[in-house]
Every structure is written in structure tokens, then in C-alpha cells.
């Protein structure tokens, strides 16, 4: 069995050089894009202007969450707490808007809330050395409890519509026909892409993902660096929460539930490897487009939202399978 497997693998063309390795990362997204293209052609409403505007408004929230966890995923960490963190940021932002009516203060609070939870994760995972998956799942649970508590405590004020014009503008506004949220998302994506691809900070991130021990020996403070990446993913989740609040305009306790898994799926589909060291913001953005398009096509074809959640799970498996297959070819 073993020999047969290796035999068939050797028959395949080998992928050794880095450029080939990068090229292989395009296979998965391309296959899915072609498949989606075929489905889209049979769904006439997909290519309407209304649908594209709807997509453009929906995309930034998932997009921000996904690009937020991309750096820590490249550095071989996990952040599964972002769904609850985004929800907490929705609560705190909403609260500050209601109490102070000041948009800048509310924005700052939302981002800071996320960064604080990220710092909490960072201290536990990198400072003390606890298991990242379990810690961030614990944070997911604990913060969700806090979210529900906050909604219950402030039941009347929080279920009120957030009528603050500035906040609604962030979520729904247009500038020269382009949604403000999409502009924010693009700006953050470009910035992060530059940081990962063109700075020492980015190089360190990839180095840690490839081989944390080696990176440490080279003099990189790996724990501090990964800690910062957790804070970053928390802060961006906070920003995603603000945009979600502006878009939805109402605070509920079940908001943002399951977003962490959707974001993780987008990251993996784009081609960022869970084994660390491989991936980019560009690839995650591709993944986000794919996930958003899948959801949109299913909605247009009247598939229930629940089945969409079920499908997310299978998409994760297919994505990691193809990723595994490709990286195996590189190694052999």
C-alpha cells in the first residue's frame, strides 16, 4: 500500500522550485472559480448590478475577519475567538454611540475592545504557553457569555436601532458609488499585504510559520511577535464588528455566531496553509470572494441558510484535502 502510493506520487510532475510552489497555490482557487463561474452562468440574477452591490456590502465584514487571522495563521497559530470578539465590539461600540454620541470615540472603543481580547489570548498562548485552539475556543465561549449578558442587561437600549448617521454611513454609505465598508476593507487589506510582503515584520511572520525554533535561534522574539499577531487579529475583528453594527443597525445576542469558522474557511480556501509559513493577504482575499460568491449563489438559488452553514464544513475538508495533496507533491 505504502509503496504503491509513493509510486504513483513519483509519476506526477514534481514541483520543486519556489515559483512552482506558489503556482500550485493557484490551483485550488482557480478550480473553484471555474466551478462557480459555471453555476453563476445558470443563475441569471447573479450578474445584476443590485446583486453586486449587495455582495460588495456583505464582503467587507467576512473579509476583514479573514485577513485579520491570516498573519497569525501564517505564523502557525490559531484564532478561533474572532466571532465573539466581533460581537463584543458590536456591544461596546453600540454602547458608546448611545451614551456619548461620538463616532470617533465609538470606533476607537470597538477596535480597542478587539485588541484587548487579542492581548488576553496572546498572554495565555504565548506568554504562558497554553494550547492556542483550546484557549481561543474558551475565549469564544466566555466572550459570547459576556455578549449575551450585556444584551440582557441593556435590553431596551440595545435592541433600539442604532440611528447614528455616521455609524450607518460606515456600514451602508457610498462614496462615488463604492460602499464605504469596501473602501475600509481594501485599505486594510493593502496595508496588511504590504506589511506581510515588504517589511521585516512580515518576513519574521513567515519565518516563524516555517520553523519557529529556527526563527527563535536567529534572534526573533517569536513569542512577542506571535503575541502581536493575536492582538492584530483581535483589533481587526473589532473593526469588522463596527462595520457589522453599521450595516445591521441592531444589536442582538446571536450576532456574529459562527463567523470564525467562515473566516477560517476563506483563509484555507485562498491557499494559506495550516502547517504555517505559506499564504498571503492576496490569497485570503481570493478565498473571501469565493466564500461570498458561494453563499450568494446559494441564496439566489433559494438554498436555506442552514444548508449553507453545513456546506461550509464540507468546503473546509475539500480545501484542506487539496492543500495537502499539493504540498505532498512539493515534498516528494
Amino acid at each position: 500500500m505504502k509503496t504503491m502510493q509513493s509510486h504513483t506520487i513519483h509519476k506526477l510532475p514534481r514541483l520543486n522550485s519556489l515559483s512552482q510552489r506558489r503556482l500550485s497555490k493557484l490551483v485550488l482557487p482557480s478550480v473553484i472559480v471555474v466551478l462557480l463561474g459555471i453555476i453563476a452562468l445558470t443563475t441569471p440574477r447573479f450578474f445584476s448590478q443590485d446583486n453586486f452591490i449587495g455582495l460588495a456590502r456583505q464582503l467587507p465584514i467576512l473579509g476583514l475577519l479573514a485577513i485579520g487571522i491570516t498573519p497569525i495563521t501564517i505564523a502557525k497559530g490559531y484564532d478561533l475567538s474572532i466571532g465573539s470578539v466581533a460581537a463584543l465590539s458590536i456591544m461596546t461600540t453600540g454602547y458608546i454611540i448611545i451614551v456619548t454620541d461620538s463616532l470617533p470615540l465609538a470606533l476607537l472603543t470597538g477596535v480597542l475592545t478587539g485588541a484587548l481580547v487579542g492581548a488576553f489570548n496572546a498572554v495565555l498562548i504565548e506568554g504562558i504557553g497554553l494550547n492556542a485552539v483550546i484557549v481561543t475556543l474558551a475565549t469564544l465561549t466566555a466572550v459570547r457569555g459576556l455578549d449575551i449578558l450585556l444584551v440582557q442587561q441593556n435590553y431596551y437600549t440595545f435592541t433600539e436601532k442604532i440611528r447614528h448617521l455616521g455609524l450607518l454611513w460606515v456600514g451602508k454609505g457610498l462614496v462615488i458609488g463604492i460602499p464605504v465598508s469596501l473602501i475600509i476593507f481594501t485599505a486594510i487589506a493593502l496595508l496588511l499585504s504590504l506589511v506581510l510582503g515588504r517589511t521585516i515584520f512580515g518576513r519574521k511572520t513567515y519565518a516563524i510559520g516555517n520553523n519557529e525554533k529556527a526563527a527563535n535561534i536567529l534572534g526573533i522574539n517569536t513569542r512577542w511577535h506571535k503575541g502581536l499577531l493575536y492582538v492584530l487579529s483581535g483589533a481587526i475583528a473589532g473593526l469588522a464588528g463596527i462595520i457589522a453594527l453599521g450595516r445591521i443597525g441592531v444589536v442582538t445576542s446571536a450576532v456574529a455566531e459562527g463567523w470564525e469558522f467562515q473566516a477560517l474557511t476563506a483563509v484555507i480556501i485562498g491557499g494559506t496553509s495550516l502547517t504555517g509559513g505559506i499564504g498571503s493577504i492576496k490569497s485570503t482575499v481570493t478565498g473571501v470572494f469565493i466564500i461570498a460568491a458561494i453563499g450568494n449563489l446559494m441564496t439566489l438559488n433559494q438554498v436555506s441558510g442552514y444548508y449553507q452553514a453545513a456546506l461550509t464544513g464540507f468546503v473546509i475538508i475539500i480545501a484542506v484535502l487539496i492543500d495537502k495533496y499539493l504540498s505532498k507533491r512539493i515534498q516528494d
Binding site: V135, T141, G145, L146, I148, L149, G313
Partner: protein, 324 residues
């Protein structure tokens, strides 16, 4: 003279400290019982002990499967969704045929199929158990919500209520269920070769493979057993709520992992025992019961649980060191 006595005290302090770290979890449980009993006199009564037994039935049985997976150095995050899925299958088959036997068989088959599906992805296709079971957590819950659409599916049958409320010699039925399952679990884990291999796999996979043991089959087996026992949990869940709900088993995976780890079993695998699993289950059961007796609201309990999971991994870190 004083130097010797100083060395002696130092040695004694060291011995006490290492004993405390070794038995951190057990000491924690004793401490918690004292605190709860001091605050709430009703806590230490026979009837409350029976209530706790009824409450921890699902947790105790699902924790067996989870601990097997953790001993091999993997993790199963899908057990909560499997509990929900199997409860749903049971309710649907019962609604269609009215046969308890068919319903239970279908539920058990569903559990073992999902577990083996996870196992094949992990062992044969080489995927990480974390991501495979996160996927199963997502698709399993999605399916349950899609089929129930938030509406409970009723199951009216005395058999299932007996699984929770039944009494033999004044003792609650789950008590016997737990005793039987844990005895079987003990013999399997500590008295058979396969049990030994499970720990070995968690210590060093390469050595296990070099010894000629089929590590892949072992992984499929433990994930399959975990699925099967989650199905048993799903059947008991029907007994508790008399219906399959969209939220049946939701979040159970964290309770179960918390129980396994807080009992003192190593999260990274290779170390642990049946006694420690049971200890952890008791800890989580007592915690939930104590908090509910003190009428702590559900949201605060959820926050507590999150913090206790962190405490659990913290104690794991103290007892077993940093993961390599």
C-alpha cells in the same frame, strides 16, 4: 544543625509542592466541594448527588471517547454536533417507524459513521484532527439546524426517559450506566494491548509505526469510538429533553475537553488514566451543579466555563510542561 533542619524543611516544602502539582486537579475538586458545601448546605445531600449523576450522564460517556482521542495526541471537536445529529436521527427514525430498536441502531450507526469519516480523513489522508473535526462541528450543526429549522422533534417513549429518570435500588439509572461504561473503559485502556498502543501513539507516533503497529487504524478506531459514544450521548439527550432540538449538544465539546484536561490528562496526548477522566467529569458536573444551585444566571455560567477551560489548560501546563 540548623543547616540540616533548613535542608529538611526545604525538602519537605519541595515534596509538598510536587505532590500538590501532581494532584492539582484532585485538590481543586476537594476545594470546590468544600466551598460549595459551605455556601449551600443542600449541595452535600443524597438527592443532590443523584441529581448530579443524572446531569453528568451524557458528559461522562462522551468524555470516554474524547479522552481516547486525546490520549493518541489528537482532538475531537465534533462530539457536540454528533450528539445533536444522532439525537435528530433517532427522533426522525422513531417518528417514521415507532421502533426503539431501529431508532437506537440508526443513531449508533450515524455516530460511528461520522467518527470513522473523521478518522479516515485524519489517518488515511493525513489531515490535522483539529481542522477535520472543526469541519464536522460545522457541517453537523448545520445539518441539524437545517432539518429541525429551530422546531423540536418530539420523541414520546418511556425507554428514553428511563435512561435518565429510572431508579434501581434507589439509585439513578445513569449511575449504573456510568459504572458499566467506566469499568469497560478501564479494562480496555489499562488491561489490553490496544489500550497500551493508544498511549504509545500519543507519546511518539514514529516509534509506534516502527514497532509495526498500524497507527492509522488506531486513529480511525479512537475517532470511531468517540463518534459511537457521542451517539450514546445523543440517545441519553433524547431522554433528558424528550425531543431533538436544534441546539442539542451545542458546546458540549468544550465541556468534554475541559473535563478530560482538568482531570489531569495531558492535552498533548500520551499520558492519562480512566480515574483522571472520571475525576474531571465529576469536577465539571459539580461545577455546573453548584453554580445552578446558587442560581447563577446561564450567561455568567458560560463565562465561568470559558475561564475554567483556561484554568484547565493552565493546570495542564503546570503539570505537564510546555507543548513541544
Amino acid at each position: 544543625m540548623s543547616a540540616i533542619s533548613a535542608a529538611k524543611t526545604k525538602g519537605a516544602v519541595h515534596a509538598i509542592l510536587s505532590f500538590a502539582i501532581e494532584n492539582l486537579q484532585a485538590l481543586g475538586i476537594v476545594g470546590m466541594i468544600i466551598v460549595f458545601a459551605a455556601i449551600e448546605p443542600h449541595f452535600l445531600t443524597f438527592s443532590n448527588a443523584m441529581t448530579i449523576t443524572q446531569q453528568i450522564g451524557i458528559l461522562a460517556i462522551v468524555a470516554i471517547g474524547e479522552s481516547l482521542v486525546i490520549f493518541t495526541g489528537n482532538i475531537d471537536l465534533s462530539v457536540g454536533s454528533i450528539v445533536g445529529l444522532t439525537a435528530l436521527v433517532l427522533a426522525l427514525v422513531m417518528a417514521a417507524t415507532g421502533s426503539v430498536l431501529l431508532g437506537v441502531t440508526a443513531a449508533l450507526c450515524t455516530g460511528i459513521v461520522v467518527g470513522i469519516f473523521n478518522g479516515v480523513l485524519v489517518a488515511r489522508l493525513g489531515l490535522d484532527s483539529i481542522i477535520v473535526t472543526i469541519a464536522a462541528l460545522t457541517w453537523g450543526r448545520g445539518l441539524v439546524q437545517a432539518v429541525t429549522r429551530g422546531q423540536p422533534i418530539r420523541v414520546e417513549n418511556a425507554f428514553f426517559t428511563y435512561l435518565v429518570d429510572g431508579k434501581i435500588l434507589g439509585l439513578a439509572f445513569p449511575f449504573f450506566l456510568i459504572v458499566i461504561f467506566y469499568l469497560a473503559f478501564y479494562f480496555f485502556l489499562h488491561r489490553t494491548k490496544t489500550g497500551y498502543h493508544i498511549f504509545a501513539l500519543g507519546c511518539n507516533e514514529q516509534v509506534v509505526i516502527n514497532s509495526g503497529i498500524n497507527s492509522g487504524n488506531l486513529k480511525i478506531a479512537v475517532l470511531g469510538i468517540s463518534g459511537l459514544l457521542a451517539a450514546v450521548g445523543g440517545i441519553i439527550a433524547i431522554g433528558r429533553t424528550a425531543s431533538a432540538l436544534a441546539i442539542t449538544g451545542q458546546g458540549l465539546e468544550l465541556d468534554v475537553i475541559m473535563a478530560v484536561i482538568i482531570g489531569g490528562n495531558r492535552l498533548a496526548g500520551g499520558k492519562g488514566s480512566v480515574g483522571k477522566v472520571l475525576l474531571g467529569v465529576l469536577f465539571v458536573g459539580l461545577l455546573s451543579n453548584g453554580l445552578s444551585i446558587m442560581a447563577v444566571p446561564g450567561t455568567v455560567v458560560q463565562m465561568f466555563k470559558g475561564l475554567f477551560i483556561i484554568l484547565a489548560v493552565l493546570s495542564d501546563r503546570l503539570a505537564h510542561g510546555r507543548e513541544s
